[in-house]
């Protein structure tokens, strides 16, 4: 990975696992020895409103927030939140959205966040083991199987 900071914005609605997904991503980057910062606003996150979380990693990261128009990746878990967050993305940035996942093959609908991380993982150079490790650390054991399947669905398609 080069020294440039990678900027990721994860967005969706309260209750969809936006923060969980950004936690997992931040941990993967952290475990890979990079400097990591992650930022979001808490408080209203369980009341169904718009939620977004910024994750930045690289050799040395200063601001924890992704500057508007500078996100390399925008991961959106709710289709109606794509337009709300589009301005975050840079001109060459990659949009990762739910239409890229065959929802009928998701073992658990609530793991769309993790399936989209699977898609994101194809663009990043972290080893798959690091992702699985971080998933397991952040998700209750009884949901491990469903989420690893969701991750693979996004990664392997």
């Amino acid at each position: 990975m080069n020294s440039k900071t990678t900027n990721v914005v994860v967005a969706g609605l309260g209750g969809q696992g936006v923060i969980k997904a950004s936690d997992i991503l931040a941990e993967v980057a952290f475990a890979s020895g990079l400097d990591v910062k992650k930022s979001e606003l808490h408080g209203m996150s369980q009341r169904g409103g718009s939620v977004s979380s910024d994750v930045r990693f690289g050799e040395h990261v200063f601001s924890p927030m992704v500057t508007r128009g500078e996100a390399d990746f925008l991961v959106v878990i709710a289709p109606d939140q794509v337009d709300v967050n589009r301005a975050a993305l840079s001109d060459s940035g990659v949009l990762i959205e739910t239409s890229q996942i065959d929802e009928s093959r998701l073992p658990n609908k609530k793991s769309m966040n993790v399936a989209l991380l699977g898609v994101l993982s194809r663009h990043l150079q972290f080893p798959v083991d690091a992702w699985i490790e971080a998933l397991k650390r952040n998700i209750p054991e009884k949901l491990h199987e469903a989420n690893i399947a969701a991750f693979s669905l996004g990664r392997d398609k």
Binding site: A26, H42, S63, M65, R68
Partner: protein, 537 residues
């Protein structure tokens, strides 16, 4: 806190880092009142094994902290920015009192109001009360500055304000533990010292002189060896900054010279002066009020500030670039997201639907139920501060003509009522309006807004253990309110509506307790209750 660790590094939020430092420093008691973005500090401190408790409000929390520090131990008291308004009374006088232990007061400010009713800048409190202040810019500094705050507090026997902001509290950044060694906490003790601790005028006058003298010593120390950092870059641009703004500055202007202030009261004015003189253009980049720039200019330092539009909301890298470029043209507005709403099945929904149907004038309060102002309910007419529902409702009743006064209702949540609604209820009994009044306490069995914390009316401690319980109906009756009703509006909405109508029609005082557990908390509450029953079997 179950942080991932890697070569003694952890990825922690600023709140978690403060808790870790408090734990590492052997802080004997953490107390506070839940408030975004400060809540996780005490929760994490408790998880780590520290003694942490929720107080009914921030004033009581600070008073308890003062007692701990007078007893020679270390205390940390946490709150959101508006909480310091509630705790301001003890704050201004504890500044005069000689402490034997350490007292660190965390004020978590919310520029941009992610989850608050105003964006007050609590750096002003440090100046107004004469309390030294540290401002971390990431989680590592949140960890280190908490330890330094304890050191400073013990060295000068004074309280210290640790001023954080939303992005420092809630961003996760890397933390290396054990970077600063501080002395072991001392055993608790007590000695009489009337002139240093009893602030009657005769003792407070010399105490005020002492405070100003101490602040002068602190300023000299801060100038000499305070936790400030100078980065020598280009001689053409110098930036004075503090807190999270430092991070945006380093990103927006990597080549600039930077004076980053860690201790922002009392300020290292001579260092600031030397820095300003060493660069061609010197500018202050700060979030919120023009606090640093005003202080610098008062001291005769020629320095630029930011245009007024950047006083509002948070700063970020993009906005810092604009400030540096002198660009104060209108900024692009973010696309409107989906606003939060009362959850489907939330017990508050029935209440606000009916208040709307009855065309009530609703004096509201702070919590999830503030969302009762939004469509489809639109059943909240005022929101000022914690507990204001009752006083504002009473004022409306006193002032409006009877036909309108009779439609006024005060609505307040369980934790908010305990926080500062009880004195409002006393006022209601003591100075009842001619038309009577109706107080509805929305008791959903938890402090939902901030993330399901316990409070004195749940009968459980911060760690969910069983403890003394404030029972609203008993309290209201003991104050002399005759019409006290406990109901579940969602179970029988029509009956609830009839009851509200009846209370509005009578010139007597009524308290209606609308009781049903928050949907999000119901499962945990059942679990806590089951554990408690098992223990008692």
């Amino acid at each position: 806190m179950d942080a991932l660790q890697q070569h003694d590094l952890s990825l922690l939020s600023g709140d978690e880092a403060v808790a870790l430092a408090a734990f590492d420093a052997g802080v004997q008691l953490g107390t506070g009142y839940p408030g975004t973005p400060s809540t996780e500090i005490l929760e994490t401190f408790e998880t780590l094994g520290g003694k942490a408790q929720w107080a009914p409000n921030e004033k009581v929390a600070l008073e308890v902290g003062i007692g701990v520090a007078i007893a020679g131990q270390r205390a940390i008291v946490t709150m959101k920015h508006v909480g310091l308004n509630v705790a301001a009374d003890p704050l201004f006088t504890v500044a005069l009192i000689r402490l034997d232990g350490a007292l660190v007061i965390v004020s978590a400010d919310d520029p941009g109001m992610a989850s608050s009713q105003n964006e007050q800048d609590n750096r002003r409190y440090a100046v107004a009360a004469g309390v030294p202040m540290l401002e971390p810019s990431d989680s590592q500094e949140a960890y280190e500055f908490t330890l330094r705050a304890i050191e400073i507090s013990e060295r000068w026997q004074a309280p210290v304000l640790l001023r954080m902001t939303t992005r420092v509290c809630h961003s996760k950044t890397m933390v290396r533990r054990g970077t600063i060694a501080i002395p072991e906490p001392r055993p608790s003790h007590f000695e009489h010292d009337f002139p240093s601790r009893v602030m009657i005028p005769a003792y407070a006058r010399p105490a005020h002189l002492r405070l100003r003298n101490t602040l002068a010593q602190m300023a000299a120390w801060n100038d000499e060896s305070g936790p400030n950092q100078r980065i020598d870059g280009s001689a053409s641009l110098g930036i004075v900054t503090s807190g999270i703004s430092f991070q945006h500055v380093r990103e927006a202007a990597p080549d600039a010279s930077v004076l980053k202030l860690g201790m922002t009261y009392p300020l290292p004015i001579e260092q600031m002066r030397r820095f300003a003189l060493s660069v061609e253009r010197c500018i202050v980049i700060e979030e919120g009020d023009p606090y640093l720039v005003e202080a610098a200019r008062t001291a005769g330092i020629a320095i630029e500030g930011k245009p007024e539009i950047f006083r509002f909301g948070e700063l970020n890298t993009g906005r810092v670039r604009r400030i540096l470029a002198g660009d104060s043209s209108p900024e692009p507005k973010p696309a409107p997201g989906k606003p939060p709403a009362l959850c489907p099945g939330c017990p508050h929904r029935t209440v606000f639907t009916i208040l709307n149907e009855l065309d009530c004038i609703v004096a509201g309060d702070i919590g999830c139920y503030s969302l009762g102002v939004l469509p489809p309910f639109e059943a909240m007419d005022t929101l000022v501060c914690m507990g204001a529902a009752i006083g504002v409702g009473l004022g409306l009743r006193h002032a409006l003509p009877p036909a309108e006064a009779k439609r006024v209702v005060s609505v307040i949540g369980d934790s908010t009522f305990v926080h500062s609604g009880i004195t409002g209820l006393v006022e209601m009994v003591y100075n009842p309006p001619a038309t009577g009044h109706l107080l509805i306490i929305l008791d959903n069995g938890t402090t939902a807004m901030t993330g399901m914390q316990e409070n004195p009316s749940t009968g459980r401690t911060l760690a969910h253990a069983s403890t003394g319980k404030v029972v609203f109906e008993d309290l209201a009756r003991s104050l002399g309110v005759r019409r006290v009703h406990v109901v579940d509006p969602a179970a029988a909405p029509e009956q609830f509506k009839a009851l509200i109508q009846e209370c509005l029609d009578t010139p007597e005082l009524s308290v209606v307790i609308a009781r049903r557990n928050c949907l999000l908390a119901a499962r945990s509450i059942r679990e806590y209750e089951r554990c408690h029953e098992q223990q008692n079997d």
